[in-house]
């Protein structure tokens, strides 16, 4: 997994609440057995007008947002389906950080598994940043994971909370399965204890 330390990048805006994973990557792109190459499916329906032509208003079609690595959006980003194809598609398009006032649980977890930082800022802070982006073509932010800050070009710094363990793993790009396997002895010990309490859950270990 990619490590995430600091990122200075162009900011794109998707000014909608409840952006669900069905929109981020529609179902027809879930038939793949790979993790890569999903950018063509990113917001597949939203990037088009009803007649099928590209919607010039949609952020992915706006030249000013080309090359963006940070996405700014509204509440409950990533709600709905558990599909990890959603962060895979965002990553494939180049996004390494999503900023929103709240995220749906499963999407939030999935980001960390893929080296993407989902940063929670207050609704009014997101609002202020959106206004700044709208007013300023080429607007960039600096996201600093160690200090847990989002810094604006004018020097304003917004702090976000993050669970220390997740931060550590993201910062160092650690393989979480490898970390868990370091506790192999504890898992085995747990299984022995639990088998005693709830033997009906361990029929496979007796056969």
């Amino acid at each position: 997994m990619h490590a995430f330390t600091t990122l200075t990048g162009l900011v794109a805006v998707l000014n909608r609440v409840n952006v669900d994973t069905d929109q981020i990557i529609p179902k027809q792109f879930l038939k793949t057995i790979k993790r890569t190459g999903l950018r063509d499916g990113l917001f597949f329906d939203w990037r088009k007008k009803k007649d099928g032509s590209p919607d010039p208003e949609f952020f992915l079609n706006q030249p000013r947002y080309h090359g963006a690595t940070i996405l700014l959006s509204r509440d409950n980003f990533g709600c709905g389906s558990s599909r990890e194809h959603a962060p895979w598609a965002l990553l494939d398009q180049g996004y390494r950080c999503i900023i929103a006032p709240s995220f749906a649980d499963i999407f939030y977890n999935n980001c960390f598994q893929n080296g993407i930082l989902p940063a929670v800022l207050k609704a009014e802070e997101v609002q202020a940043l959106m206004q700044a982006v709208f007013k300023t073509p080429g607007y960039e932010l600096t996201v600093d994971l160690a200090n847990q800050t989002v810094e604006t070009p004018s020097g304003t710094s917004y702090r976000f909370d993050i669970d220390p363990f997740r931060k550590h793993c993201l910062y160092h790009g650690l393989d979480s399965i490898g970390l868990t396997l370091q506790h192999e002895a504890a898992i085995t010990e747990y299984e022995a204890r639990r088998e005693n309490e709830a033997p009906w859950l361990f029929a496979d270990r007796r056969s």
Partner: protein, 467 residues
């Protein structure tokens, strides 16, 4: 000292280790696997040279991509076929039980878990599918995970978690006739919003919840994720135990009795505290119909399509305006004036035998309205078989409904069952997102009873006044 909640008891019995900062290695008893979210997990396992730790705790089934029409000729779409074939190969390679496409036990992953007795109280259950919350109906801590975590559980039988908060949603009183668990959960989401449950595990309590059947409790817990919650729980009781007894994968004989004694302890103690409590009165819940593109955009069938101009909050107003434009609805239209083109009865929310019995009971002697296309998709091959033994298929067919093979079908339209742009559907599924049932398709979430009435009349009707 405060007592323990049901959630506390399940969580604490699954802690392998806890770090000083609260990061917890949580043991996972059971994993359900389907074709869409597992190929990359198995690939990861292979690339790292790892093996599943306890293959016998995994049950796999293809459901999202399977056709609901005659399967003799396989799957027409080669990409869907490849995904299902990949699941079969992975299960064979790693010794995982798979109910293949032509196995009568095949069905929607969240229908077959309970059906087989794979879902048990007090367990932790995961699946690469957000509707894993369904299994909480049995007092199991069950939640959806992404593909990386699917791989994590395969390799380690554990997940790295932080303890969520607890929310009690208490529904007391008696539901009015024709109102069901679906109406209860839609009303709850309407009340707390689609982000209201973020960070929480919900425990549903109260006399109206106790009165629900196991099928009803599954419907309720299924849509906990639509309220943003990690999981939903109902404490096991005599109904739960009766439902599990004798199922193929459930414990049997003295082991069953021993398990029952443990399951009877799985209730929230009277001195326990929840982090939040929400209460509803069952009598006040009307049959629900969603009007927008998020499950929280829902109202009673006796109401009107809301007027965004009356909304004080900017974000809500903009979201409602956009939703109404997508849905092709005019503010203040009575819900009962909304005409529909399609009806879908199925999905992990409402495709169990009780749902089909109720729907068939209402469809009997009636006929689907002219111009309406209605589909019934049982949740599993065994549900289908049971329904056919009871003659429900004939009732549906005589009433003009199509009777299909088991699968996820038009809930997310990954197979050939798709809405066309602009088509409007009364659906017993769980998500009304834009394009969910097909690009440009318009979904209204309802209960099975409401779906049947809409199919017959061609528009929504208040089933409390319908005969």
């Amino acid at each position: 000292m405060a007592g323990k909640t049901l959630f506390d008891k399940i969580w604490e019995s699954h802690v392998v280790r806890e770090e000083p900062d609260g990061t917890t290695l949580l043991y996972i008893d059971r994993q359900l696997v389907h074709e869409v979210t597992s190929p990359q997990a198995f690939e990861g396992l292979k690339l790292a040279g790892r093996l599943p730790r306890r293959p016998a705790t995994i049950l796999a089934v293809p459901d999202h991509n399977v056709p609901t029409t005659d399967r003799k000729f396989g799957i027409a779409d080669p990409i869907s076929a490849k995904q299902i074939q990949t699941l079969e190969e992975n299960c064979r390679e790693f010794g995982i039980t798979l109910f293949g496409m032509n196995d009568v036990r095949q069905g929607i992953v969240h229908v077959i878990g309970p059906e087989q007795g794979f879902t048990l109280p007090g367990t932790t259950i995961v699946c690469g599918d957000s509707h894993t919350s369904t299994h909480g109906a049995f007092g199991a801590l069950a939640f959806g995970i992404g593909t990386s975590e699917v791989e994590h559980v395969l390799a380690t039988q554990c997940l790295i978690q932080r303890r969520p908060k607890t929310m009690e949603i208490r529904v007391d009183g008696r539901l009015s006739p024709h109102c069901s668990a679906k109406d209860v959960v839609l009303a709850i989401i309407g009340k707390i919003g689609t982000a209201g449950g973020i960070g929480y595990v919900i425990e549903y309590t109260g006399s109206a919840i106790r009165a629900l059947s196991m099928e009803g409790r599954m419907t309720l817990c299924n849509m906990s994720i639509e309220a943003g919650a990690r999981a939903g729980l109902v404490a096991p009781d005599d109904k739960t135990i009766a439902h599990i007894k004798g199922r193929p994968l459930a414990p049997a004989g003295p082991m069953f009795d021993e398990a029952v004694r443990a399951w009877q302890q799985l209730k929230t103690e009277t001195t326990a505290n929840y982090d939040a409590t929400i209460t509803l009165r069952a009598e006040e819940i009307a049959p629900q119909v969603s009007w927008g593109t998020s499950p929280g955009m829902v109202t009673g069938v006796d109401q009107r399509v809301p007027d965004p101009r009356a909304m004080s909050d900017d974000k809500s107003r903009q979201a409602a305006e956009r939703a109404l434009e997508y849905m092709g609805l005019t503010p203040n239209t009575p819900i009962t004036d909304i005409r529909i083109d399609k009806v879908f009865i199925g999905s992990c929310t409402n495709s169990r035998i009780e749902d089909l019995r109720l729907a068939a009971g209402m469809a009997k002697g009636k006929h689907v309205a002219k111009g309406v296309h209605a589909l019934v998709v049982p949740g599993s091959g065994l549900v289908k078989q049971q329904a056919e033994q009871e003659g429900l298929d004939r009732v549906f067919k005589e009433a003009g409904f199509e009777w299909r093979e088991a699968g996820c079908s038009m809930c997310l339209a990954m197979n050939a069952d798709v809405l066309q742009p602009g088509e409007r559907c009364a659906s017993t599924s769980n998500r009304n997102f834009e394009g969910r049932q097909g690009a440009g398709g318009r979904t209204h979430l309802v209960s099975p009873a409401m779906a049947v009435a809409a199919a017959v009349e061609g528009h929504f009707v208040d089933i409390r006044k319908w005969n």
